[in-house]
Symmetry: C2
Subunit: 225 residues, 2 copies
């Protein structure tokens, strides 16, 4: 009864999280999904309305709490700092720690969920894009403000670009796709691997964020051919 006794909605969400991870949204059929969840085929449309709404529900279940945790942690750090601007590393911690905690918690979907999220980032379907933008809006705006104070040498525009790069490295890394098999022979043990990961990611991103403004001469482009 243990795992099977959950209610239908949860069973569907759990199965969807796994299968969307493995095959993506389009390639996952409701027939395989409901049969993996041990529920009737019609249950998805009854409880969620449609396959698209189910996908959004899969994301919301994990994303809402994680982003709220990020916002709360940032606020706590700011309270502790008593008005003084936070360091770059501290702000990054407020972003990374909730994500890492989620990835380590199998009861909240763990790495599976972060992989679904990583794929969603790259999906051009409008219903996904709009949904993600709305979900992240508040968190992004708060962290942008914090970074602006921590990095006074950056213009708003420059910071926006750099946050763009940060989100890229972060999503690629947390999703753990490693499309190019870079990590093939690098990881001897899986133990505390994700902790290591963020220990390495944070200094990399902090250095990038703190970098002086780019020299226009550094990247010379052959315009002609």
């Amino acid at each position: 009864m243990d795992a099977l006794s959950q209610d239908t909605k949860t069973r569907i969400l759990d199965a969807a999280e796994t299968l969307f991870t493995e095959h993506g949204f389009e390639a996952t059929s409701l027939r395989s999904l409901t049969s993996a969840a041990g529920v009737n085929l019609a249950a998805v449309n009854y409880h969620f309305g449609s396959k698209e709404e189910l996908f959004q529900a899969v994301l919301t279940r994990r994303l809402d709490p994680m982003n709220q945790e990020r916002i709360d942690l940032l606020a706590q750090y700011e309270r502790e700092a008593g008005g003084k601007p936070l360091t770059c590393e501290k702000i990054l911690s407020a972003m990374l720690i909730p994500a890492l905690k989620l990835s380590r918690d199998p009861r909240r979907g763990g790495k599976d969920f972060l992989r679904v999220l990583g794929r969603a980032y790259a999906d051009p379907a409008p219903f996904i894009r709009n949904f993600l933008s709305a979900q992240y809006a508040e968190m992004i705006s708060r962290f942008k403000d914090a970074f602006l104070k921590a990095l006074p040498h950056l213009t708003k525009q420059e910071l926006t670009w750099r946050l763009h790069f940060v989100m890229g490295a972060l999503s690629y890394t947390l999703a753990g796709t490693d499309a190019l098999k870079l990590m093939a022979q690098v990881m001897p043990q899986d133990k505390d691997n994700d902790e290591m990961l963020l220990q390495r990611l944070a200094p990399f991103l902090a250095a990038g964020l703190k970098a002086p403004l780019g020299d226009t001469k550094k990247l010379e482009l052959v315009a002609g051919d």
Copy 2:
């Protein structure tokens, strides 16, 4: 006759590049694809064997020349340096310039192709993963060697991680997905936007690569809850 006079294979590849960009691999049907290309439905299976092989052909057509260009440019820089190790920025240029040139050249698929590539990075389908690994193997290995010489303070393992982050930021940026609509109000003009982009990306990545090794204390994790 101009655009329509191309041979069937090319017409299919062009239409596939566009449609895979807009809807992804699974969500693009051969019926819509062949009708957009103005060819018979059976033409894809006749010329490419299957939908999967068509997808690989779409990637190869652009990826092979771009990665060869990267390798050649790196070799040229190394020749010019005459044995001395290259700077981080110079090596990054050898990665970024061919990608940027491709993205600016509509005759080679331009941004459309890079978006297909960005999505492929996040796709878990084995036939895509294996294909990408093989395509990138040589380029990655050469650039890893170059970076190792340029960044002697990094271990091989640390460099592998940082290259992972670099590829993340690069693919997210070049794919131009901007899942979180960060850039909404930032881009006043589209002109030479991508040039600006890499002018900003290169310093960011160079600073990250050159960062000192991470302090284990910087990111404190609450292990318990």
